[in-house]
Amino acid sequence: MSLQFIADGLLIGAMVGLGAIGVTLTYSILGFANFVHGEFIAWGAYACLVIAGLIGLAVGADIAPLGPFSIGWTILVAAVIAMAFTGGLALALDWLLFARLRKHGNAIVLVMASFGASMALRSLLEFLFTSEPAYFSRDIQIAIPLGLGIRVTPDQMLMLGLTAVLVTAMHLLITRTAIGRAMRAVSENPALARVAGIDVAGVIRKTWLIGGALACAAGIVAGITVQIRPFMGFDLLLPMFAAAILGGIGSVPGAVVGGLIVGLAESCAVQFVGAEYRAAVAFLLLIAVLLVKPAGLFGRGDA
């Protein structure tokens, strides 16, 4: 038996985990399950595609791929700009919609608004780019055998490496910096945090920025290793929620571990059951967590 599914699972898990960090942070700090997060992923991927295209036009010359990878430097530059753009999109949406609704205090209305906004944003992408898939590069990559029947393309290794760097940076940000401490304080008790002199509005802004930027990164990883479609974020939404709840709401390492578990479980299902029921795996995991340990693996137990 080939162990290829482990490599595939890690890659899916990396995407899910990157997205789930944003879900878990907005959930714990703003107090609601944000259905728009999937759209940040898709918008981020399309933004990177468009920006890379514009840079390519401005430079004029044909962009040669970097080393063994299928992507050129334009995509790396575009990725940074797209992450800022997606963070800005999240901030704009908060200012337009969520901040106004937050004043009324009912968290479930925020969930509903996010559900409506996600439908609208996804359909807007469909209108702008049609539902045909798009690609960063159409080059075919040769997978490198790593032994034990596992083959990985250079792109996939690069994406796994970049994900590891981002996740480590996030973990350090949350555990070692003043911003991270402020974020944890607001998620524990917003009123007390405010009394202690923490700028709650600022923490909320940073949460949206970080969540949006990481969602964009997840979208770019998905775009480079699979493809870009308007529904790419919608399809990742259930796995991300499952990962965030499995890891425990509010826990960044939990979201990443949860993402890897969801990813590995999905690729196991593809290997042993068949690809058509892959999307049901996240749901079954979610139900199992809610039945056995609703607080999640690293949760605080207040679920």
Binding site: G116, A120, F283, L291, A303
Partner: protein
Amino acid sequence: MLDVVAYGAFFLTTALSYALICLGLNLQWGQTGLFNVGVAGFVAIGAYASAMLTTPAGGNHFGGYGLPIAVGWIGAIIASGLAAAVIGAITLRLRADYLAITTFGIAIVIQLVALNAQAITGGPFGIGFIPRPFASLAEYALGFDLANLAVVALVTLAVFLALERLVRSPWGRVLRAIREDETAALSLGKNANRFRLQAFVLGSAIMGLAGAVQGHFIGFIAPENYLSAITFQTWAMLIIGGSGNNRGAVLGALVVWGLWSASGAAMTTIFPPEQQARAAALQIVAIGVVMSLILLLRPRGILGEEMTVSRHLDGET
């Protein structure tokens, strides 16, 4: 003239079948405050259950028992209610938005099963030959349309009246009490989780009935009828009509379905045929924007919630 009447009958039949879904959602959200993102899933369960029970034998799907339509509808109510009971039992005791996430998930799983379990659901081809009420009238198109409209209108009216009576009963007031202040309701000895589960199951059962009614009206069902767009439309109908108000639920369904049909007709004349699929996405964007605006500017919708619901006080104030 006859064309207008025929189209009117067709339009009203479809709109009222949405009104039925919307009434189920109003019981869950409007009265009890439960956020169900899996409306499409519960509608699909009802439609498939009724189709399997009533279609003639020999179809390439599970069932085909050729039972009367009424049996199919009862089956639809039971099937959707049971699915809701399982989901509700697991999630209603947890945080409110876990219900949103799990119902979102169940709709995806039902979509997968409908699409892939070909031996049971007919797969992407769906189920055809679903018996239609008054099939013997099919030669007189207008009579057939009007008879169907009468059936759907009667079912909707019956559900509407039953719900009106329920929300005015002590049971209905407990639901509102739990929604407004769970601690207070608990301190009065009300088992909040049990009431919530009852409301969730009953609301989903109504959605299942609506799915069956729709399926028998069209005579054919397929997985793509039950995508998340239908959930979204139903929510828009309820929010725009006025949640917490059964009349608002019906009104919202008529208004939103009217706008949807009109904008759809406008799209077909404005955009060339090859751009139609793209243009259809704009309709969803528009509904999403309207829904967000209503939430921001007029959260009570057109009619707003009925503040006093007691049959003892009706007509006195």
